[in-house]
Symmetry: C2
C-alpha cells in the first residue's frame, strides 16, 4: 500500500524534480568510508540526501531514541549531495529523514556500505539492516549493503560496482516496498567474486564469550565478544554458504515475524 506522508521540509534540499529521490544512511556514522563509497555508487541514479548517525551505531539494531530528544545538523553539500548528521540511531535517522527533511516520499533507501558482515542472524543486531527494515516498514524499497571487512580503510572498489548493479536492478524491476534486500559482499577483487546469489537467511547464532576484566576500583566488567555458530553449514541456499564460496549474497527480507506454521498448532492448545 502506498501511503502519503505529511512531509515538512525544514531544510532546503535542492532537488531536480524529475529524478528519483534516494536516501543514504548507515550505522558506522557519517564519516565512514563505506558511506562515502555508497554515495558515490548511487549518484548516477537520482538526487541524493544523506542522513547518517553522527557517530558509530553498530549493534543498535532497530533501536529508537525515546529517553532523549534528537538533534540533526546539516554537515555539507558536495556535488549536489546534501549530508545531514543525526545524534541518534540509524532508525532515528530514517524517521527524521522521512518525516522532517524530505518534501516527498523517497523512491529508494540504501544503507551502508557496512564495514563488516550482516549475514544470517546478524540482521537482528545490525543498525545497517535496522535502517533498511525501517524503510521497508514505511513502504520504501530499501537495500542494506555490507562488505566482509571490518577495516576502516577497506577497499570498496568491487563492492561499489556490485552495489551499482543491484541498485540498477531494483530501480528497473519492481521491488515491493514491503521487501528489502540484505546484500553481503565478499572482500577482495571483483574478478575473485563468482557472482550474485539470491539466498535465504542462514540459521545460526553468536556464541558469546565475554571478556571479563577488573577495573582500577576492583570491580568486574565484561566486553561482549564471541564467534558465529552456523547451525546448517551444509545448506547451499543460504547467505553464509554463498559468502563462504565467494558469491555476493542477496537475501530478500520482510517485516512480518509471524511463524505461520505454528498458528494451527497453537490453536490446539488449551489456553
Amino acid at each position: 500500500m502506498f501511503l502519503k506522508y505529511k512531509f515538512v521540509a525544514l531544510f532546503e534540499v535542492k532537488l531536480k524534480e524529475q529524478k528519483p529521490l534516494i536516501i543514504v544512511t548507515n550505522d558506522d556514522g557519517v564519516e565512514a568510508k563505506g558511506l562515502r563509497e555508497l554515495v558515490d555508487a548511487v549518484k548516477p541514479f537520482g538526487n541524493i540526501v544523506v542522513v547518517a548517525p553522527a557517530d558509530a551505531q553498530s549493534g543498535m539494531s532497530h533501536a529508537i531514541t525515546v529517553k532523549f530528544p534528537l538533534r540533526i545538523k546539516k554537515v555539507k553539500e558536495e556535488d549536489h549531495v546534501t549530508f545531514f548528521k543525526c545524534y541518534g540511531t540509524p532508525v532515528d535517522c530514517v524517521k527524521l529523514a522521512f518525516n522532517q527533511l524530505l518534501e516527498r516520499k523517497p523512491d529508494l533507501l540504501v544503507s551502508g556500505i557496512n564495514h563488516g558482515s550482516n549475514s544470517s542472524t546478524s540482521v537482528f543486531y545490525s543498525g545497517t539492516i535496522g535502517a533498511a527494515l525501517e524503510g521497508c516498514i514505511n513502504d520504501v524499497p530499501s537495500i542494506g549493503f555490507s562488505l566482509l571487512s571490518l577495516e576502516p580503510d577497506a577497499d570498496f572498489s568491487a563492492a561499489k560496482i556490485i552495489a551499482r548493479r543491484i541498485i540498477s536492478q531494483v530501480m528497473e524491476n519492481d521491488l515491493p516496498g514491503s521487501v528489502c534486500l540484505n546484500v553481503n559482499i565478499p572482500k577482495g577483487l571483483l574478478e575473485e567474486i563468482r557472482g550474485i546469489k539470491v539466498c535465504r537467511q542462514n540459521k545460526g547464532f553468536w556464541r558469546e564469550e565475554f571478556d571479563k576484566r577488573t577495573d582500577p576500583m576492583g570491580r568486574n566488567y565484561y566486553w561482549l565478544t564471541g564467534y558465529y555458530y552456523n547451525c546448517e553449514p551444509e545448506a547451499e541456499d543460504t547467505d553464509e554458504w554463498a559468502l563462504r564460496n565467494n558469491y555476493v549474497a542477496v537475501v530478500p527480507l520482510h517485516t512480518d515475524l509471524t511463524a505461520y506454521k505454528m498458528i494451527e498448532h497453537l490453536r490446539q492448545w488449551k489456553f
Copy 2:
C-alpha cells in the same frame, strides 16, 4: 537443534536441580512493577533467576552494547528468587544470563510484563520482544508479555492470571525453541477479557510527528512522537483486531526474516 552452552557460574545461584530453570527479564528495568508481577506469575513453575536492565530500555529493540563494557550486579535474593541488574540492553541481559550467570541452559525465558503494547510492528522496536527473540535465537522457549497500559502503577492482576495460563501451556506442550510467543494483554478486569486468540502480526507502522522544540541556546531538538497507522483494520486474524476486541493476542514469532515468496522472483532479475 539443541546446543550445549559453555556455562560459567560466576554467582552462586542456588537451584533445586529437579525444577525447570526460568529466566525473567524486561525492558522497563529491574524496578518496574511489571517485572515483579511476572516473577510472581512464574514462581510456581520453577527456579527463577531475574536478569533485568538497571534502568528503562524501552525502544532498544535487539540492540547490543559494543562500544562500552557491561556490568552486572546482584541486587537481592527474595523468596528463593535471585535478582541481577545489568547496565546494558535487554539483549545484553539475556546474553550475560546465558553465558555468564547460569550453569545450564534455561528451560524458559519470560520477558515483561511490559508497561504498554508490543503488538504489530512494535516487535521491531521493543526491548521486551528483543529479549524474547534472543531467547529464541538461542533455542530457548521464550515469551514476551505486554499489558496495554503505560501506567507505572498499572493493575496487573488479570495479566498475571493470563500469563500463568500461557506459561503453563508452554511448559505442558512443546514450543520449539525456534519460536517465541508475543503475548499482548488488554487492560481491565479479567472478566472483561473475552479470551485468548492466536493471531498473526498486523501490518502497520508508526506515523511520526516529531515535536520540535528550541533549547535555551537557540538550537532545535526533536522529541519522537506519533501514532500507529493500521494498514489492515478489517482483518480479523491479527493481533491488533484481537486487542481492539478485548482478546489477549498471542502471536508466534520466529527469527527467519527471509521473504521466501520473493526468492524465485528475484532469481529472474539480471544481476
